[in-house]
């Protein structure tokens, strides 16, 4: 291979990356356009467009309310949660160098579930406001990560294996407490089960206001460290040799991933599959370099959740299915197909 061939190789790679991003961004915009008009009330796309851009009014009041108060926040939240879980899941897989890592690997979902269940059980009996559940879920998610991190820390260093095991143990503990609460709960049990299944049906602008800054900030920071994550894949020793301050990078990635996941879980419950499988899917398609893998996973995560949520709320009208059922039912077969199709045997 001659020297100028190598240059061509490099140029082509970056060209492919740019095209991929353009393609995915277009897909995202298309998703937004299409899903706005789908639902129990079919609103034609032209009308949606007119409503969003404040054209002179020519539609019934209910249309406006549906688009602005119901669908818009829900679709935005879908984009935020989908992209957040995908990016956090990808970061965890790199940090732990473990293909089974998901955004919930530090027991964060169990902690959030405990907080939410507690809030539901106490809230309904004490009549506390509806914002307590997301707040408690978020708080306990953060407490859980803090706990797990400090349990695993030895002399200022955090070995990943210890972190993993601590996360499993603390997660198991909180899961048991959730079971206890479910057992004791009376009529609140239904609410708890619904919360645990995860979904975007209770979307509101308040939730968007909370999730938007946290998820935007968190995913941006994670993507900023793309090169570091590439090097961490080689092993901590290699990363150190190449100038990465591994313990600091680990801390930053863990903190911001946790913020993203805590925010996502507090507004939408525990939606599985996305954080684990979307990164793997994108890794098969675009490769392991996080400079393309993270933004791709982000966009595909958003697109995927918006579509599956749209399906969840319109497949059996007027019933709404929990979105987690749709994500796994449709996502898993597709992923298995990709798994069989790929030519490589080694690597994930």
């Amino acid at each position: 291979m001659r020297k100028n061939n190598v240059d061509a190789l490099h140029f082509r790679k970056h060209l492919k990356w740019s095209l991929t991003i353009i393609f995915l961004v277009s897909g995202f915009i298309l998703t937004l356009i299409l899903t706005f008009s789908i639902g129990p009330v079919n609103i034609p796309m032209s009308t949606v467009f007119k409503i969003l851009f404040h054209f002179p009014k020519s539609w019934p009041d209910s249309y406006e309310s549906i688009i602005m108060d119901v669908r818009l926040p829900r679709i935005i939240l879908g984009a935020l949660v989908g992209s957040g879980l995908a990016v956090a899941g990808c970061a965890m897989q790199a940090l732990f160098r473990n293909p089974m890592a998901s955004p919930y690997i530090l027991g964060i979902s169990s902690g959030a579930a405990f907080g939410a269940s507690l809030a539901i059980v106490l809230g309904i009996s004490l009549g506390i406001s509806v914002f307590v559940v997301p707040f408690m879920a978020f708080t306990f998610a953060i407490i859980t990560v803090f706990l797990v991190y400090n349990i695993a820390k030895i002399k200022g260093k955090v070995p990943m294996e210890t972190l993993l095991l601590a996360g499993i143990a603390v997660g198991a503990f909180f899961t048991a407490q959730v079971s206890l609460i479910k057992y004791i709960a009376g009529e609140e049990l239904r609410s708890i089960v619904f919360w645990l299944m995860g979904g975007l049906w209770a979307s509101s602008w308040d939730k968007v206001a909370v999730a938007f800054p946290l998820i935007l900030l968190g995913t941006s920071v994670i993507m900023f460290f793309s090169r570091d994550l590439n090097l961490m894949l080689m092993g901590e020793e290699h990363a150190l040799d190449l100038g990465i301050n591994v313990e600091i990078v680990k801390k930053i990635i863990l903190i911001f991933s946790s913020l993203v996941v805590a925010a996502a879980v507090s507004v939408s419950g525990i939606i599985g599959f996305i954080g684990l499988i979307i990164p793997h899917t994108m890794r098969i398609i675009v490769g392991p370099d996080h400079r393309i893998l993270l933004p791709s996973s982000c966009l595909v995560g958003a697109i995927f959740l918006i579509w599956t949520d749209t399906l969840a709320r319109s497949i059996i009208q007027p019933i709404e299915l929990p979105v987690g059922i749709i994500t796994a039912s449709f996502g898993a077969p597709f992923f298995l197909y990709l798994l069989r199709k790929r030519k490589r045997i080694s690597g994930w």
């Binding site: 291979m1 001659r2 020297k3 061939n5 190598v6 240059d7 190789l9 490099h10 970056h14 900023f224 460290f225 793309s226 090169r227 570091d228 590439n230 090097l231 894949l233 080689m234 092993g235 020793e237 290699h238 150190l240 040799d241 190449l242 100038g243 990465i244 301050n245 490769g287 392991p288 370099d289 490589r344 080694s346 690597g347 994930w348």
Partner: protein, 257 residues
């Protein structure tokens, strides 16, 4: 360019693993660190690039201590070829070599033509340019080792550390790697330190040897002076004969029992 290591003591928890290690290596010089398992060879190497922090002692490059430098600064001066390089992910060889530019780049920087050129030159020197678009986990052990050396060279270091560079390689690849290392030291004016358990190869390719035993320097000097039957008996508890091979022009160690 001179690397000075002075009076290094290193502890794993409360166990003293290195004691009073002092030596110097200049540019164009290859120092071989040899010794039995557990003598502290790899630990010493990890102390030199500050991945491990010695309890006492100093490490100086051109008489300036490197203790206060951050990891990025150290990576610009010292390149490391570690023992194990199993990389499971489908990065291309060129991707891997280009990672050597990391210490010179900010996080949001894209690699410039200069960075690409440095990587290409490194691959030419290590005879890996023809592998540029191959995937890292599909090439042979010897090729992979040369790629990692290319990556270290892309850091533009003044000092190259190699931990058992010929482990698990066939004899032809072993010789190829060591010839390359020798060429790098002489032509690129690097300070080279390599750790090896292979006494014959080390004595053939290194200018100076340092025999470690239980964390202390047992002997340091030319291969002929260090690898004597007496020293080897004391450190390895093995009877050997050391012969000078006329045709190959180096000393060969032959176990007697």
């Amino acid at each position: 360019m001179k690397l000075s290591v002075k009076e290094i003591d290193f502890y794993y928890d409360s166990i003293k693993v290195l004691e009073n290690v002092t030596f110097e290596v200049g540019e164009r010089e290859i120092l071989g660190i040899v010794g039995p398992n557990g003598s502290g060879k790899t630990t010493l190497l990890r102390c030199i690039n500050m991945v491990l922090k010695p309890k006492i002692g100093t490490i100086l490059i051109n008489d300036k201590s490197i203790f206060k430098l951050d990891r990025k600064e150290i990576a610009k001066k010292i390149g490391v070829v570690p023992q194990n390089s199993t990389i499971y992910f489908p990065f291309t060889v060129f991707d891997i070599v280009l990672m050597g530019r990391t210490p010179h780049l900010d996080r949001l920087d894209k690699e410039s033509p200069k960075d690409l050129e440095i990587a290409k030159v490194a691959m030419e020197i290590t005879n890996t340019l023809h592998l540029a678009d191959r995937l890292i986990d599909e090439i042979s052990g010897g090729e992979k080792q040369r790629v990692i050396i290319a990556r270290a060279l892309t850091q533009e270091p003044k000092i190259l550390l190699l931990d058992e560079p010929t482990l698990h390689l066939d004899i032809n690849h072993q010789l190829e790697i060591l010839k390359l290392v020798k060429k790098l030291a002489k032509k690129s004016r690097l300070v080279v330190i390599l750790v090896s358990h292979d006494l014959n190869l080390a004595s053939r390719y290194c200018d100076k040897l340092m025999l470690l035993s239980l964390g202390r320097i047992y002997s340091i000097g030319s291969p002929k002076d260090v690898l004597t039957p007496e020293n080897i008996k004391k450190v390895y508890n093995v009877d050997v004969e050391v012969n000078y091979h006329q045709k190959a022009k180096f000393y060969n160690i032959i176990p007697l029992s």
